[in-house]
């Protein structure tokens, strides 16, 4: 049975209140790398295989315009997988998007571009750090908490800080509010200058 996946997203340029709220929450969880969050819907339709090819596409467009999206504020994108598209003639649609990356499990799992496992986030050089995707950075940050959690808490407490900025196990900056988080530019600058990965740790919610 063919399956249609319909992604409904807010038109670009429209402010996404839910996304902004989630971005703030992510920042509070110290995922300060998150620049923007946009929320959409994934609607999965299982279709019988009597429809095919262009007719299926036409009908799905109709469903999206009538009910599944509101064209005033939303865009939609349809992908189909299963045997239906091929059966009805030319498969006109791209296959379902696969997630680009699956979240690594903790410990030694994150590798540099050369395939070397990273065991010490503080010792990671900046070029290797920059080549990581966000999930990998998050996994490494968790690793740092696992290995150096007591030290990090000690540094936070010593400074009465809500966050600290560490490069190579040295605290370069700290702050007592989540508002004055170091910017992405500042992190890049410090990382480059020391050729080491810059890490920001914030106090876990109590």
């Amino acid at each position: 049975m063919p399956t249609a996946h319909i992604f409904v997203t807010l038109k670009s340029g429209l402010f996404d209140a839910q996304g902004a709220t989630i971005r703030r929450a992510l920042h509070q969880l110290s995922h300060s790398a998150v620049q923007d969050v946009r929320i959409g819907k994934l609607i999965t339709l299982t279709l019988d295989s009597t429809l095919g090819g262009e007719e299926m596409q036409r009908r799905l467009d109709q469903m999206c315009q009538q009910l599944l999206s509101n064209p005033v504020i939303e865009d939609y994108e349809i992908t189909i997988d299963g045997d239906g598209a091929a059966e009805g003639g030319e498969p006109t649609l791209a296959p379902l998007r696969k997630p680009a990356y699956s979240r690594p499990t903790l410990g030694g799992d994150v590798k540099t571009a050369d395939g070397v496992a990273i065991n010490e986030p503080f010792a990671l050089d900046f070029t290797a750090y920059q080549s990581l995707v966000n999930e990998e950075k998050l996994a490494l940050r968790s690793m740092a908490w696992q290995k150096h959690g007591a030290w990090i808490m000690g540094q936070l407490n010593e400074r009465h800080a809500d966050w600290i900025l560490c490069v190579g196990g040295e605290v370069l900056d700290s702050g007592d509010t989540l508002e004055n988080y170091p910017s992405e530019e500042r992190l890049t600058e410090l990382g480059k200058a020391n050729d080491l990965a810059p890490w920001v740790f914030s106090r876990p919610p109590t």
Partner: protein, 243 residues
């Protein structure tokens, strides 16, 4: 005057509307289940608030395809008044009977409190008992009241006199602070081009009795009565409106 009050699965302000129509206005009214299609007995239709079809997908998105909605559109085409309150406003927008759409509140919070509204236009059947720039107080209770329409639509609505109510402060100033939900231009209520359909986020049925401490909502209901009974003396004096 006989009011039809549309009831979807999940509608919850239908009885409040019926109470105001029958007990406060002294008129007659009847609930209309969303699968019915005959509205010929009615002089006015109210699409009340609630959570029609659970607000699934988008607020009002599924309700607009209920069988009764074709009849509501036809009812308006015949020149009879349709009033959409809160979820009813959302449904009328989704159905294309009113321009624009109601999005999630800017704060992402459900808001339940009194707001002030400035009457922008009164040369219509819904607000003709108010003076222009009058400040009314009504309660809102919604999570999706953030009115949006593109700039061209807003400009056309402004030019056609379709924007009837805006959120304002107690003194009638339309300010960003008095905008509870992020609505474009502080818009709280809009009318269609033909002047037959009016939708608003605040709940006039929840403030239509002096014993509740606020009867500003009566202005709207009484306006409907007097529109259809031209012999009733019109007045802009809110003190004389049975309050």
């Amino acid at each position: 005057m006989h009011f039809g009050i549309i009831v979807f699965p999940g509608t919850n302000c239908d009885l409040d509307c019926l109470h105001v129509v029958t007990k406060v206005l002294g008129q007659t009214g009847a609930p209309v289940w969303h699968e019915e299609t005959d509205l010929s007995a009615f002089d006015a239709i109210i699409v009340p608030g609630g959570f029609a079809h659970g607000d699934y997908l988008r607020t009002g998105a599924i309700a607009r395809f209920s069988p009764v909605m074709d009849s509501v559109a036809e009812f308006a085409r015949m020149g009879k008044p349709v009033l959409g309150i809160c979820n009813g406003f959302q449904i009328l927008c989704e159905a294309g009977l009113l321009p624009g759409v109601l999005r999630r509140n800017l704060s992402s919070h459900f808001i339940c409190r009194d707001v002030y509204l400035r009457v922008e236009r009164n040369e219509n059947r819904f607000m003709h008992l108010s003076n222009k720039n009058d400040v009314l107080k009504m309660p809102i209770r919604h999570g999706e009241g953030n009115y949006y329409a593109d700039d061209d639509t807003l400009a056309a609505m402004e030019a056609n006199g379709q924007i009837l109510l805006r959120y304002c402060d107690a003194n009638g100033f339309v300010t960003p602070e008095s905008n509870p939900n992020g609505s474009a231009g502080n818009i709280a209520g809009v009318m269609n081009e033909e002047g037959t359909v009016f939708g608003l986020m605040p709940h006039p049925e929840a403030c239509a009795e002096a014993i509740l401490g606020n009867a500003d909502g009566l202005l709207l209901f009484n306006a409907l009565l007097q529109e259809l009974r031209p012999n009733t003396p019109q007045t802009a004096d809110r003190g004389l409106l049975g309050v």
